[in-house]
Symmetry: C2
C-alpha cells in the first residue's frame, strides 16, 4: 500500500531503486547562451524527455508499484486532463493492470490518444472538478479500482522526489533548485530530496501570478485554495493539499511568482536557444530567474523542466 507518512531519506532512495527500470534517467542540459544572458550557471533537469513527457511518471510509477498484486487486481483509477493521466495509464500497463481514467470531454485530442494508446479505459465527463470527482467515485465504486491521486499522497511525493535526487547527483550540490509549483507534489518531493541529499541547496518554488495559491497559503500559514485560476501554465492550476502543504511550509523559504508574459517569453527562449520542447508550466522556473536575476547572479542554479506536452496547433505566441 501507499506510504502513510512523510518519506524519509531511506524511503526516497528505495523509491528511486524501485522505479528506475520504469523511468528514464533524464539528462541535465546546459546552455552557454542562457548562462551568459543571466550571469549564472544553469542546469536544466529535462523531465520533458521523461516517458509520457513529464515528471508525473515518477510518482505514478512509485504509487502503482507500491501496490501488491492483490491490491491491483481490480485496477487503478484517476481523474486528470493532463500529464498524470498518461503517467497512470503507462504505469498500470507496465504491471498489466487495468486503468480507468476520468477525463473531461474537452481534453486535447492528443492527450486522449496518448492515454488510450497505453490501453487505459477513458471515462469522459463534463469539464468541472465536481463532475470529475463524481465520475471517479462511480468508477471506483463499480470496479473496486484503487484511486491514484495526482499529488496529495506520500508515495506520489516520494516518486517526484527522485527528479531532484538525480539533479543533485549530477550537478554536485547547486546553490539553488527551482521547481514549478501546482498541487505541490514535485515541490514537496524536491524539498525532501534537497533536505536529505544536499541540505546546503535552497529550494525555491515558482508559480504563475494567476494561480498563486502557494504564495498566498505560505503567507497566510494555511491552505488558501485557488478559485478560478487563470494562467497559460495549464499544469499549475491545482491548489496545495493537506499532505504537500506542511512539507512546503517547513522547507520552502521563498516562492517567486511570474506573469504569463514572462512565462511565454521564457518558454520561447528555451525552444529557440536549447532546441528542446517544454510546456508552459516548465517555463516558470526560467521566468523566475529573469524576474529575480540579482538573487542568482554568479550562482549555480538547478531548474526542473517539468514536462514537454504541448499542443503544437495552439502555441502561446501564435
Amino acid at each position: 500500500m501507499f506510504l502513510d507518512h512523510i518519506p524519509n531519506k531511506k524511503e526516497i532512495t528505495e523509491t528511486h531503486e524501485k522505479i528506475k527500470d520504469y523511468i528514464h534517467h533524464t539528462p541535465v542540459l546546459t546552455s552557454k547562451a542562457l548562462n551568459k544572458m543571466l550571469k549564472c550557471e544553469l542546469f536544466f533537469k529535462c523531465e520533458n524527455f521523461q516517458k509520457t513527457g513529464s515528471f508525473k511518471l515518477r510518482g505514478a510509477a512509485n504509487a502503482i508499484h507500491s501496490l501488491s498484486d492483490d491490491e491491483l487486481k481490480n485496477g487503478v483509477a484517476t481523474h486528470s486532463s493532463g500529464n498524470h493521466a498518461a503517467a497512470v495509464a503507462l504505469s498500470a500497463e507496465m504491471r498489466s493492470a487495468k486503468a480507468y481514467i476520468v477525463m473531461p470531454r474537452t481534453a486535447p485530442e492528443i492527450k486522449k490518444k496518448a492515454v488510450a494508446g497505453y490501453g487505459a479505459e477513458i471515462i469522459f465527463c463534463e469539464p468541472t472538478l465536481k463532475a470529475r470527482e463524481v465520475s471517479l467515485k462511480n468508477i471506483t465504486g463499480k470496479t473496486g479500482a484503487v484511486f491514484i491521486p495526482s499529488y496529495n499522497n506520500y508515495s506520489i511525493i516520494a516518486g517526484q522526489a527522485t527528479a531532484a535526487k538525480e539533479l543533485i547527483e549530477s550537478t554536485n550540490k547547486p546553490d539553488y533548485i527551482l521547481t514549478p509549483i501546482g498541487g505541490g507534489g514535485l515541490t514537496s518531493g524536491t524539498a525532501l530530496s534537497v533536505n536529505y541529499f544536499s541540505p546546503e541547496t535552497q529550494v525555491i518554488a515558482c508559480e504563475p501570478v494567476g494561480a498563486d495559491d502557494a504564495f498566498r497559503s505560505i503567507k497566510a500559514g494555511k491552505i488558501i485554495p485557488m478559485i478560478n485560476p487563470t494562467t497559460i501554465a495549464d499544469g499549475l492550476l491545482t491548489s496545495l493539499g493537506d499532505k504537500t502543504f506542511p512539507i512546503i511550509q517547513q522547507y520552502i523559504k521563498e516562492i517567486i511568482t511570474v506573469d504569463d508574459e514572462s512565462i511565454i517569453k521564457s518558454m520561447r527562449l528555451i525552444w529557440e536557444r536549447m532546441k528542446i520542447i517544454i510546456e508552459p508550466s516548465s517555463a516558470v522556473v526560467l521566468a523566475a530567474v529573469f524576474n529575480r536575476n540579482e538573487l542568482f547572479t554568479g550562482k549555480r542554479v538547478g531548474l526542473i523542466l517539468s514536462g514537454g506536452n504541448v499542443d503544437l496547433d495552439n502555441l502561446p505566441w501564435n
Copy 2:
C-alpha cells in the same frame, strides 16, 4: 589554406581533432516509440543541438581554422540566408577575425540577429543568387576577405564529415546512415567518413521531391542543377557542386526522395515524440524511413538531424 584534394582518412581525423574545442560533440538520441512504429533501431545524431543550431559550424570552423593569421588578416566573407551564415560568423569571431555576410533583405529577422550577434557585418542584397554573388564579389574585392563557400570546398567537406564520424563512434557501425542532401557537403563528408571508419555501413541521401537535383544528377551521370526548387526544407534548395558530386557519385548507391507532406509529418512526429526542435530539412531522413520502411525493417539506422533553426512564428502545420 584550404584542402585542395578529397580529404583522406588521416585528414578527417586531424580535422576532428582541430575543431573539437570549437564545436559541440552532439548527443545521439533514441526513441522507443519511433523504433516500435518503424520496426527498426533508430539513432538520431542531433546536430540541431550544435552551436549556431546546425552542422554547418563543423565545416565553417574547419575552413576558417585552416587559414593562417596572415590569410585571415582581411577577414572572411560568404553569402547565405541561413545556417552557413551563422556558422561563418561564429567561427570568425572565435579567431577574432572580421566576417562579412551577404544576406538577402528577406532573410528572417532571427537569422539576421544571430549573425549580427556574433559580431559579423551584414551586407544586404536583393534575394536572388545573382545579387548575392555580385555583392559578395564587391565585398571581397574591396576588403580582401577570404570567401568561405558553403559546401563546394574540401575543407568544408572534411568538417561536415566529422558528424558521421562521431555517429559511427557512438553507435558501433549502424547498417545505414541517412543524411539530408542539398549542395552535398554533408552527404559527401558522411560518405567519406563511412568509407574510412565503417565501410560496411551504407549511406543513403534523402532529398525533397521539389529539389531533387541530386537524384536526377546521379541518374544522368552529370550535374543537373535545380531550376526553381520548391520545398518546405529550406536548407536543401541548393544544387550539387563539382567537388561534392564526384564523391557522391562514387559512394552513394541510393537517394530516397520524399514529398513535403511526409517531411512535415515526420518533423511534427519528432517534435511530439522526442521533444526536440528540428527544422524541416532535418526531417527528410525520418520521412525516408517511412517511405521505404521495408528496406529498414530490423536494421540499425543512423539519422543525421542537420539543424534546428525554425521560425516559430511560421510553423509548417499552421
